[in-house]
Every structure is written in C-alpha cells, then in structure tokens.
Subunit: 262 residues, 6 copies
C-alpha cells in the first residue's frame, strides 16, 4: 500500500513512453545464430535489438595455478567492444594500455555466471575462454554477452562430448541475464542505451532455468530505492529471462539430443 | 514452502559455528576515529575486527570534463591495500603496472555509494577524492571503506561549511555498507576473511539511514539462491547497518551541530 | 633465358594444387555489404573466402598537430583481430599492453593507401579514422581491410557530401589491394592462410583504378627472387585487382550518382 | 680558517629559528611500536614527529636468480606513501604505471642499509621483503623507514630463531638513519618537510651501533659545500643516530634476550 | 618510348639539384669500421654521409619457442636512435613505454634481410641479436643498418668459426640495402633526409651479391607510380648496391680467408 | 692512530694490484672530443679508458610547470646504455616498459650536478636536456657522463651566447665527477668495472673547480667504513678531479675566450 502511494506510476501519472514503442515488459527482438564462426570450438552470434555480440569458446589444456592437480576445470571470459560499436567512437583499450574498470566488471560477471551453472569437475583440467566481442552496442551488452556466452559454451561442450573427451554434459543449467530498471518512475524490462542513460535504478539479473538467482546487481543511479521496488524489478526480470531461456532452449534442442534435458 | 524444505538451516541441522564465536547476526567490534590525519581535509580511521582502514578526503578545485560548466561537483574513490595487510603478502599494483578488476570494482562501489547520498549540486565544481587505504584486511574491506569514507566525507564537508565555502550541508543521508552471506547453509552478518572464502552466497548491501537501498551486489559463489534467501539476507544486513549508522551518528554529533540532523 | 632455366614451373614440373581447388589466378569468393553498421559515418562488411572484416569510418573534427592551420585533412587506420578470428586463439593486444609490429605495419599500410588516393585538401581539417576489425582471418586480412576501408571511406564521403559539408567528392581513385606469392615454385593470386604460411615469396600490391601502383611490398620468405619474378607477380596481382575494383564499383554505383565517375 | 670566515653561522649572525621550536641538534619525538601488525612475520610502527611509517617484514622461501645455490639470503625493500600522507595529495604510482626515481632511490637505500648490517649467509636461501608504507610524511621518510625497517627485520629474525629456522641471530648491528642539513647557514638535525624544502645542503647518514658509516648521501641543493662542512654535519648526525639506536635497543631488549647483545 | 613522353626528366626539364651536389646516381661517402666495439661478438661502425650507425652482434644460446628442438638458429634485430641523432630531438621510446610502428617495421626488415641470406641450420640452436643503434640520422638509417648489420653478423660468424663452434660459414650471400626515390620527377639514389622528406615515391631495396631481391618496399608518398618507374628505380638501386657490396667485400677479405668466397 | 692499526694497507700488507697495471691514484686515459655531433646545440664525446660516452645538449623553449613565470631555466639529464655497451648484453629499457632505479638515480645525479653549478636565472625560461648515451661501459659511466655533460652544456651555452640569446655566461664553475673506492683494503681512484664489482666501499664525488663538493655518495657494499676512511677517499678523489678539470679547461679554452675564466 505505502509503496503505491510513494510511486503510483502504473495507475495515475502519465507513463514514460519507450522510444522504441515497446511495452514496459517487452524484450527487444532476439536473434541467436549458433556456430557462427569457422574456427572456434563453440560460438554464437546474438542480437537483442541493435545490440549485437559474437561469443566464442576456446579450449585451453591448462588451468590457473590454484587449480593445478585438482582435476577441476575453469571458465573465464573476455569482453570487448569494437570501437565503432557505439554512437560516438570508443578508443580501443589497447591504445590506453589498460583495461577499464567497466570492462573488468563485465568480464568477471560473465565468468561467474557461466562457472556457477557448470560442473567444473566434469571439464577436467581445462580452461574454457569465452570471448564476447560487441559488434554493436545499444545497451544491455553484458546481459547479451551472458546469453550468447551460454550458447557458445554449450556448443563447445557438445564438441568435447562428441569427441569423447567428457564423461557427461557439464552444463547444469541454462543461464541467462537481462537488465531491468526504473525510468521516470516506470519499471522497464531490457533497457536500450537511451533508457539506460536516464535510469534512476539500474539492475542486472542473472538466473538459471530453475528460476534461481546467480547474480543480482542493483544500483541507485540517482535516488535510493526500497526493498519492495527491488522485488518488483526481480519479478519483471523473471518474465524476460524465461523468454530468453525459451529461445536458447529452442536453438539447442535442434542441435543435439543432449540439450533436450534443458 | 518448498524453499523451507530445501534449506531448513536455522531449525534442524547443526549450525555453522563462527570461528570468532560471534552470533550469526553479530557485527565485529567497531572502532571509528575521526580526524585521524594531520593534512587531509577530512579523515577517519575505522576498524571492524581485524579489518583496518584509513580514509581521507581531498578537495580538488576541478571536475571531470563532463561536468564542466554545470555547477555540479563530483566524488570519486581510490582503494588500495598495504602489501602486508593480508595473511600472505599481496604484491603492490604499481609493480604490475595495472589496477586489478577487484580494485576497480571496489573503487566504483565506494564512489557510487557516496555520490548517491550527496547533493552534488551543493558542492560546486569541486571533486572530492576519497582515498581508502587498507592497513589490515580480514574480510569486508569494501564495506569498511564505505563506512569510513562516509565519515571522512562528512568531516570534509564540515570543514568547507566552517570556511563558508558551502551554502548548506550537502550530505543528504548517512550511508553504510555491510556484507552478509550464507556459509554451510547458515546466514551470517559481517563475514570475516575465513567465512567469506567458504561462502555459498556473498552479498554486499549499501543503505541509507532511511533504510533505502543504494546498492545490492549478490553473487552465488557455488550454488544459485532463491529470491526468498535474497530477502532474508537483506533483512540480516539491515540489522547490522542500523548498528553501524548508530556508531557513525554518535561520532558525528559530538563534532558539530550540523550532524544532529542525521 | 637463364631465369627460365632456373624456374620452369608452369611448363615442366607438377603444379602446386591449391587446397581450395581454385585456379592459380582465381580470387576467393568476394562479398561486400555497404552500410553494415547503424552508428558509423560509413561502413562496410567484406568477405574474401573465410576472411571477414568490418570496416567503419569515423569523422573527427580535428587533425594531427602538423596539419593544424593548413586546411588539409587526414586519414588514419586502426586494425585489430578478434581473438578467435584465428585457428588458434590470438590473445588480445590490450592484454599485452602493446601493439605488435605486425599490427602497426598493417595500420600504416591501410592509412597510406587511402590517403594517397584521396584529395586531403578537400576534406577540410578533419580526420577520418578507418577501423578495420577482422571477424575471421584466413590470410589476406590486410588486403581485405584496404578493400573494405575504401568502401567505408566512400560511404563516409557520400554522407558528408549529402550534408553539404564537402565542396566536391574527395576520392580521386578507387583503391584495392591483393596478395600474390610463390608457393612451391607456382605463382598464386590471393593466398589463403595455408598457402601464405608456405610461400617462398610473399607480396602485397595496392593499386588504383588507373592501374598505377600505390604500394608494393615484396619479401623473400625463404629464397631471394629475380626482378623477372617480381614483374610476373605484379601482372598476376593486376588481374585480381581489376576484378576487386569492378566489385567495388558495382556496389558504389548503386548507392549514389557521384560514384558513376569511378 | 678561511671556511670559518665564509660561514660564521654559530657565532655571529642571527640563527635560523626552527618552526617547531626545536634546538638545532634536537630530534623530533620518537615513538616505536613493535609487532604492530597481525599477519606479518615482523613489523613496527614508527613516528618521528608527524612522519609516520608502518614497516613489515615478509619471508619468501626463494632468492633472486644470482643467489640460487649459494646458500645466501637476500633483503629487499619497498617504499610507498599513502596519497594523503602529504600536505597536497600525491597521486598513487600505480596510476602512472611507473615507479618514480625518488621511490626507487629510497627503496635501494633501505635495502642496502639492512643488507650491509646483516649476515646474509645465516638467513639461508630466503628473501626478506621490508615494506615501508608512509602513513604521514613530514620530511625524513626514508630515514624513518630505515629505523622502522631495522625493528621489523629484527622481529622477523626473532620469529625465525624461535621456530628453530636460524642457527644464530643474523643481525650484526643495529642500523639507524637520520637526515642533517644546512638551512640559512645553520646546521640542523632531523629536518622536517618545511626545513628540508629550503635546505642549502641535504644529507642522509646511515650508521651502525659501532659508529661506522653504512651510507652517506650529501647533495648541495643550492651551493657547493666544503669538506669541513661535510664533517660537521657527520658529527651532528652522529649525535642523533646514537639517540635513535638507544630507543631501538630499549624496545628490542624488552622483547627477547637475544637483543641484549646490541 | 611511352615512358619518355610521360616523364622526360633527364632530357628536357630542369633537373632537381641535390642539396649535396651529388649526381643523381651517386652514393654518399661510405665508411665501414669492423670490430668497432670491445665486448660484442661482432660489430661494425658505418657511415653513409652524416648517417652513422653502430651495429653489434650478440650470441644467445637459446632460440624462440617455435624453433626449440629443430636444430635451427635464429637472427633478430633491434633498432634505436639516439635522441639527438636527429635535427630536432626525438624522445626516447622507453619514455613512452612503447615501440613505435616505424621502429618495429625497421627491426623486422633488418631481421628478415639477414635471415634470408643465412643458412640458419648451420648456426645450431642459437639466436644472434643484431643491435643497430643510430648515432646520427640523415636519411637511410634502415638501409645503413642492414649494411652494417651484415658486417657485424659476418664478424660474429668468423668468431664462432675460429672457436670451432660452426661446421662451416653460414652466410650464404652478402646482403646490402639502399634507398631510391623520385623527387620532383627525378630518380635519385641514396636519399638524404631532406630529399626523403620531399620524395614522391620512396623505395627500399634489399639485394644479395648475386643481384637477387630479398625485399622491395615501394610506396607512393604523394602520387601513384607506374610499373615502368618501379623497374627504373630497381635498376638505379642495383648500381648503388653493387658499390656497397664491393666495399663490404673489401673489408671482409682483409680480415679472414673465409670471406674470399663472397 | 687507531685507524692505522685497523687497516694498515699502504704500509704492511701486499697491495691489491690493479688489473690494468695503473697506480692506485692514477686515472684511466682521458679523451674528450667537443662538438662531436652535427645536429645538437652542444655535444662531447668522452673516453675514460674503455668507458665511452656521447653527451649532447638540447635546448627546449619551455620549462617544467613549477618554473613557469619565474624567469628561471632548468637543466635535466637522460642516461642510457647501448645494449652491447656491456660484456653481457643488457636488454633495452624500452623493452621492459620501465626505467630502472639505477638509471633514474644516475639521471638525477647528472642533472643536480649541472644545475648546482649553473646560474639558472641567466638561462631564461628554457630547459637544457643533457643526453648521455653510453657507447661502451667499463665502470664509471655516471662520472664520465657528468664530465662529458659539462662540456656539452658549455658548448651549448657558447652557442646561445654567440647568438646573443644570453646576457652573460651562465656556467658558474666547471664541474667534474670521479669514483673512488676500497678494494681488498686498498683505496683506488677511478675504478673500472672489474674493480668496482669487488669494492668494499664505493663512492662517487662531484666537485667544482674551487674544490667544493656538489655531491658525495658513499656506500658500504660489504662492511661499514670509518669517517677517517671517508676523508681519505675524498682526498684521493680530489686529486683525480683536478686532473679531469684541467683537461676540460684545456679543451674549452681553445674553443672560445669566454672559457678563459674557468
């Protein structure tokens, strides 16, 4: 009740109109092309609206120092944007000789999401590197990267399984991510760049196909938010995540019987 | 219901015993010394158990490019650990010529927390740099940094106010942070290093003195978690945060009447 | 005479068979998609066989120091490969904190090729940055970059012309590049990666639509070569370059009447 | 004779008055707290006036390449200042991606001082890293670091001895350092920042408890100086060094009988 | 015929007069001093006019990763200019923390030239590093480096041969390099800095003592050039290269009988 | 008296024999060539035995930030060694992306020596960069750099004076440097590399032509030393410095009447 008083958006005040004309709980058009690359062990091309990402999986027959001799594998991610993926050109990070905090934050998020939903002991002492390269960026590049990375990883596991190098399929769950936020008091699903840049609250949710949370990152960009608002946003994210995972599942099932379990 | 079945920790199975003997919802001993440094515009020394941090505030009479001419100010944070703050020596970042992703993530968190609770327009075109240097690290260094940083910032604003350089006090709220997590199925408040390194779920909560959220970062380190667990952890954090803010308030009130509002 | 004796390849010894089954003077399938990107001022996607590149043009309203006040513009190029563009993953250059000699050589080649065929005085004091990002690499990435870069640059000039920002069209010539080489004594046009890695002589030729040379880079990888061989390779390159420029011209003519001159 | 004419300071002209009111041959208040840190193998906190330093000793079970197989150990030092240790904030060296010449000079000085007074053969193939972190800087940070480093090193050796890892105590001598200088023609002991910045001659002296020299670094900041002046400054330093070593000795004797020899 | 029409320089239009008064096909005075350095395994000092270079050869008993176990050796080159080798001081590359594209291009050229003319299998698993340090730079520094590097390498092989470490002499050919170019329509041999900076076409030719090509790098600096012009420049370079190799041969023959073969 | 007992080297025990056969107080052969370079504003080539250095002076019409508007000038120095100046090749510092502590220490020493003996106010707001490049290194490279740098600086001032850009000559004194040390108990002047590497005490002395000290750096490499030994070494250095300054003076007087004053 009290929260309705505090923020009566759906009912009483004129709603924020999404520039794209989408409904507040509507995802952008989603396109996934598995096996997009000729040389990688797994790959996927994914579009969420104008946001476009190529994800590839590379297998390295070694693990970080702290895993040597444990029999366990590792998954790590790298993320980068083409310089002209953005409205205004973004200089290459190599030019500046350092990786930005934003890039590192995103890489860590992608890596954690994929590790938490994989049984690393089944991989053996291998590292899978997931490269997420943003061809075009219109908001939601980190969530698109998780979504594409999950497919690239699955394709890579399929290849290892086909070659008899895995005892069983190590992906415990499908995993997907989506952004939600509050713009002019209106909760929105899957923000594009313009919406994101004026959001009062910005939140990324990573979730499994069982509806359990892998990661929640919520930040007040302008004004602190209530626990009730947090829960409303989680619910909105849940709707979008179910749709994304349905698309992932549909793709994978066509490719290999092992994916029918997901 | 089903979630209760899945994880009936408080009721039925033997509880995880905290190495320090603390109760599951008990903070570590908290010590705050304001004005710890001779030269800084604001400063505080803060201990949460063995975790010890020095925070200083520096005023620079300039703002980042994107704020020039807007009349608004900025707050930014830097974070670093003494090499022997840790059990095993951590090499200095300058030696490696780059700032780690972890450091950058923490710096961004501290900066956002302090900016969101400050009226940046009242500062004028100035940047306040909050330096958080960890003398000793036993878990929770980022939350200790937010807690110390809030005091250093308040002391710095007091100094500007005393000098007639501010029209009114720009701190809208006290802000504090605490970690919570799940270890062996047991929810815990204010994890030390040993607890943190075995946590199944790890979460940092930044909150204002009105109980509204500034930032929530929750990550499944091993197994995904339910939305119910998220809310239970938020409640546990809320208890600790109220105690920390009471300590901050007590310190500040002794220093200057302006702080009585908080 | 004596050189014929030294290398009688076409006549007497069994010919090197190209792995792809191509004829010795046959280009790989060529695909060009102009306006591939939503945000760049000009762009093109280009495939030569499995080699795939995205080129974009960005306009910056400034010039390098040495051109300030001269009224002349500048064109510069950046080149990068996605890490998994290659058979074996290539680490990102940002990770190593330096740009390799190979990358710099290629960037300088692309820049010179486009500058030499443009009337820089017509651009005004602007810099056009041509970003060439290799999505997949199967040999000939630098020549594919010149070919795609020429289209991206033309699209960018068209945009400036449409907006009334140019007095006349500054592209003096179409420019294209191709590799030629000698493998097992056999001269070949447009080498793929496998051919390139066993070439005895490797040569890149950049040429205008009038058949004049912009750049020739010939290197004996294993054994020195004669001046006669140099001229035979130039002739073979000329055949391929005419075909590439025909494709470029066909694309451009469909887009804008200004391109009918080329 | 002639030098007395040239500079008759003590006798005839009005003396430079030290801002702190100290006598010309008076040290600043000296505080030493051994075992200041919980995790390091040895540590000390030391204040000389407003200059405050934390020194820690870390044992690594390896030596630099050139010592491998010799049975000898090594001691090395790192030095850093907290950004707000100074009146005006000093940017972190990691931000600039390089270590300044000043920092390197100081690190080398501390390392040499401690190595020369230790029997490295007794340590075995171990490296002791002495980290000197300046909490606050008011002149004399390098000499304070040597003084604190000596205690941290002694505490670390005591720990190794207690654990039976050393045959005998490897510290041959106590070692201490102090700055002396000439300000407005007046010789001064233990310069603070304000004095140091106007010194005509600046000198650091490192000495053992037998009164022998380990290092002398004398530099004319403005005007060259005579050999007589050099000797007068050495004598002044000697007075201060004896007092510092008395304080070091007093601390150590309380801790362990092995220190009674010093 | 047709070329005379296109560019009748020698006959009809006023010739470009070389600032030095040299004929169009005249080299600058060439001085070579072998064994210039006391410590290197091979060395040479070389002057071409005001361009002065010191080349040294260093033997390392290891090879790059890709050659390990093959029995083959490697030759690599480094190139650097003294800061005041140039009219205007050139900052040191170490200051900028990166090696320029120009430097890398030159290093690669020198290395390829020397590798192509050496039988690497005869060296055994050793790397020869050729350091070319430009004492003074007046154009043609990369070609002077190849010319000096060839002598330093030969001296180094002689030393290995004298010590019985080589089965036979591994240098297959003398190798030399020279620049040619077109300035104001006039073809010129061995351009100095002033000529080079106004050249319309710039070309470096690396050739063996049998007159075969090792590398050709031709670039239109302003206007594209014809294949006929390319061949005329090659012929002009050939004249200069024969003279340089005669000087190299004269030096080497005096030193050791093994050089009589060249 | 007591010190004679402690170390009776000259009298009673067999003397250390210098590998070169030099007397204990004998300099190495000294060669100075002024105006060695064609392009620099001042330059000198200097040999002390096998140690060879090229020093150049470059004038920049700007000063460091802290001198802007003061009317005063600045002198700074850079130091570098050719990779094969040494017995064993020393990798270039640019390769490692950082400048070593040793290099920085030397650069600072050279700069201080030349600044202290120059009237910086007479230079106007200019910076003179003294580049000292070591062609060959056999000990004493920092002192050779000071000695060569003094000549290069004098030549540069002469040029500015000749051009009417200086009111009067700004060099207050000649300045020279030399190393002294104790090897096997024997005091030695001007140590070469072999002597230096076994020295028990190592000392560099920078002095003016009036015999006053500019800088003294004395370090016990193995055993601490007495104040008496310090003074004996200073006396030995004084002998060598007088000879070096005589050679500098002789060179300069031949060049320009302004140098007769020195």
């Amino acid at each position: 009740m009290s929260s309705k008083k505090a923020r009566k958006e759906p009912a009483k005040k004129p709603l924020f109109k999404r520039p794209s004309g989408r409904g507040y709980d509507e995802l952008r058009p989603l396109i996934i092309k598995p096996d997009y690359m000729d040389f990688a062990e797994g790959s996927a091309y994914l579009e969420m609206g104008k946001t476009k990402v190529v994800a590839t999986a590379t297998i390295e027959e070694k693990v970080p120092q702290f895993l040597k001799g444990t029999g366990s594998g590792w998954i790590t991610a790298e993320y980068s944007m083409l310089p002209r993926s953005t409205e205004k050109r973004t200089p290459r990070e190599r030019t500046q000789g350092k990786i930005s905090g934003r890039t590192q934050e995103i890489q860590r998020l992608i890596g954690r999401a994929l590790r938490t939903t994989t049984d690393l002991n089944l991989i053996g002492e291998r590292t899978i590197i997931i490269d997420c390269d943003i061809i075009q960026a219109d908001g939601g590049t980190r969530t698109a990267s998780v979504n594409a990375g999950c497919i690239a990883l699955a394709m890579c596991f399929k290849k290892l399984l086909d070659e008899g190098l895995l005892p069983t399929f190590p992906l415990r769950h499908l995993v997907a991510a989506v952004s939600v936020g509050i713009v002019e008091g209106q909760r929105l699903l899957d923000l594009d760049y313009q919406e994101d840049s004026q959001a009062e609250v910005d939140m990324n949710v990573v979730q499994t196909d069982e509806g359990r949370l892998v990661e929640v990152q919520a930040a007040a960009e302008k004004l602190p938010f209530s626990k009730q608002e947090l829960n409303q946003l989680l619910k909105l994210a849940d709707k979008g995540l179910k749709e994304i995972m349905a698309a992932q599942r549909a793709i994978l099932k066509k490719i290999h019987p092992v994916f029918i379990a997901y």
